[in-house]
């Protein structure tokens, strides 16, 4: 069975462990710098097993050394965004945590596929990829996948249909400039634009772009973590079972979709070694323009925090 190491046992890390347990796809080791946190959460998850019918191995450890030889490492450490905090400020807070984490991953799990969920996710994913020096296909960020599940839910809710048959992909940076690939929003293959009035779809796209903020404003002291954890668990499943699932993930681009040297979400086929292939999807002219502009805005943000 594949081994997953999760660095950071807060709401996202612990729920990711829980979803992986329910999927029975991999054994999990949770670690956190806060003494006892991982041990307590792991025990709580294990004790739910007899009722929830999983017997997955879940360990909680205080030392990061416990992630040794993990096949997959999830980085869910660091701060979440406070209401009214800018992404640049958040970047400065979280970026400084990444250097020691990268050193630990290089030392303990040099062959691992790394999944980053630390915000601002595209900027941190690029930083982590550079810090690790791993092939870019082994360093993925959870951004578009999270927005996509939100999109799919909102579409199914508006239509009153089951969400199981709803597809839809969100690409670009994980911030309000994200780009929804409108033609991919479909129900059993039928475009949502044939089932819903176009202005209704427009309103949903708008809602998706600020879905994280909506939850942040509602919950105030905590950001969302169920959907983010579900997105990570989906990636873990695709990697550990080598499913070749197609989903948007943040990856450093080298010319694909006209962008280089930044990481943003693009559709990718996921397998045992991470991104097996970047899938090139036809964008409308409007989407293409918006995607490139969003990329440049992200690049400007990177330049600001570097300066």
């Amino acid at each position: 069975m594949k081994r997953v190491g999760i660095i950071g046992s807060g709401n996202v890390g612990a729920n990711t462990a829980f979803f992986i347990a329910e999927n029975r796809t991999a054994s999990v080791t949770l670690v956190d710098i806060k003494e006892g946190l991982s041990v307590g959460k792991a025990l709580d998850i294990l004790e739910a097993g007899p009722i929830r019918r999983y017997d997955t191995e879940i360990r909680g450890e205080n030392s990061i050394d416990a992630i040794r030889d993990s096949d997959i490492v999830v980085i869910s450490a660091g701060k979440v965004r406070a209401p009214d905090q800018s992404r640049d400020e958040l970047y400065r807070d979280n970026a400084r945590l990444m250097a020691p984490i990268c050193e630990d991953i290089k030392r303990l799990a040099p062959e691992a596929v790394v999944i980053n969920v630390v915000e601002p996710v595209d900027m941190i994913t690029l930083l982590v990829q550079k810090g690790l020096g791993f092939d870019r296909r082994r360093v993925l960020g959870v951004g578009g996948l999270l927005s996509s599940t939100r999109l799919r839910y909102l579409i199914s809710n508006a239509l009153g249909v089951s969400s199981r048959e709803v597809t839809g992909m969100v690409v670009g940076p994980h911030r309000p400039t994200m780009v929804v690939l409108r033609d991919t929003i479909r129900v059993s293959g039928i475009p949502a634009d044939k089932l819903l009035p176009p202005d209704r779809v427009d309103a949903i796209l708008e809602e998706v772009s600020r879905a994280g903020d909506t939850i942040l404003q509602l919950a105030q002291r905590s950001t969302s973590y169920y959907a983010p954890s579900a997105a990570i668990a989906a990636l873990v499943e695709a990697i550990s079972r080598d499913t070749k699932a197609v989903m948007p993930v943040s990856i450093r681009l080298e010319g694909e979709y006209g962008l280089s040297d930044i990481a943003v979400s693009v559709p990718a086929r996921i397998g045992k070694d991470g991104v097996d292939k970047i899938v090139l999807v036809k964008m409308s002219p409007g989407e293409k323009t918006a995607f490139l502009a969003a990329g440049e805005e992200l690049r400007a943000s990177l330049a600001r925090v570097a300066g």
Binding site: R53, G160, V161, S162, R164, E165, T167, G168, M169, L181, D183, T184, I185, R186, V187, S188, G189, I190, P191, K194, L195, A238, T243, K244, A245, V246, M247, P267, R269, V279, V281, K282
Partner: protein
């Protein structure tokens, strides 16, 4: 809330395997009815024995007594002969229409509030027999075909692209026969139409293989036909109705002008929920797609007319 009940008429391979898949979903008690005494009871018992390991705890009964379908929420009709190599669907029609008429009468007698899912072939014509015999409202009679044809198409696409099966969705309209209408424009991987991902010649090959999907299996087996994918398709439809899932999937529905077709059962996209067929979705088809659908409808209509020459439906 009362326990839900699903009855399956005909406990051959399709019926029994459908019963098993429905049991695994743990959504309803199950009654299997077959005129062959003994075998049905044995299969029900065998399923129950597997329950402790497979973790379903629904009631499963096998019987030859049609009155045991009383008060079912859903009744599935799988009774009839399977197609044998070399047999066309019309030979089948003659053999199966009488069997299904008897089943349909029992449903109106014992389960007058049920939603009926027809599986017996030739599917679209048999739907008529059930619809006319039961006298049920149009939304409560539907046929299982499009989901099966789509799941085959989905499998072929995933295999061709080397992508996850679960990311592929497909739409196949028309009658359940060689003239079915697979729609590549509405067949996608994570929402991306396959027309962007595969060459037209490859798509054509998969479309043809889908059209002959049932025959391919019959040719391998020599005696017998497919039942795992058909039974899985039945279970999907049963689940949509029992749990009111609002699943959008192609199935044989009675059309009253949709797609320019009147008074005919044929495969179209529909939303399935507790009221059966809750909405028929009309797609803007391109001219060629519409022509294919019309041709397929003509073939079904011919079947209905032939049925009328030797058989009184009421």
């Amino acid at each position: 809330m009362p326990r839900r009940k699903v009855s399956i008429i005909g406990a051959g391979h399709v019926g029994a395997t459908a019963a098993y898949y429905v049991a695994e979903k743990v959504i309803a008690d199950i009654v299997m009815v077959d005129i062959v005494e003994g075998v049905t009871q044995a299969k029900a018992l065998d399923f129950l024995h597997a329950g402790p390991m497979r973790r379903y705890d629904v009631s499963i009964r096998g019987t030859a007594d049609f009155s045991e379908i009383a008060d079912s929420d859903v009744v599935v009709i799988t009774a009839g002969f399977p197609r044998k190599p070399g047999m066309d669907r019309m030979d089948l029609l003659k053999a199966n229409a009488g069997i299904v008429k008897t089943a349909a009468r029992s449903i109106s007698d014992y389960a007058p509030n049920a939603t009926v899912i027809v599986v017996s072939n030739p599917l679209d014509v048999i739907c008529h027999v059930v619809f006319r015999t039961t006298g049920f409202a149009v939304h409560r009679v539907m046929g299982m075909a499009g989901i099966l044809d789509s799941t085959r198409f989905r499998m072929f696409v995933a295999q061709e692209l080397g992508c996850a099966l679960t990311d592929v969705h497909a739409m196949v309209l028309g009658g359940h026969g060689d003239q079915m209408v697979p729609l590549p424009r509405f067949t996608t991987v994570a929402g991306i139409p396959i027309t962007q991902l595969l060459d037209a010649s490859v798509i054509d090959r998969m479309v043809n293989r889908t059209r002959k999907g049932g025959a391919e299996i019959v040719a391998h087996l020599k005696t017998g036909s497919a039942y795992y994918a058909p039974a899985a398709s039945v279970a999907e439809m049963v689940e949509a109705v029992i749990t009111d899932r609002k699943t959008l999937a192609p199935c044989a529905c009675y059309l009253r002008g949709e797609y320019g077709i009147e008074d005919l059962f044929i495969g179209v996209p529909a939303i399935l929920g507790k009221n059966g067929v809750e909405r028929i979705v009309e797609l803007d088809l391109e001219e060629e797609e519409m022509d294919q659908l019309k041709k397929s409808a003509d073939a079904v209509r011919k079947g209905v007319e032939e049925l009328n020459t030797f058989f009184t439906v009421r």
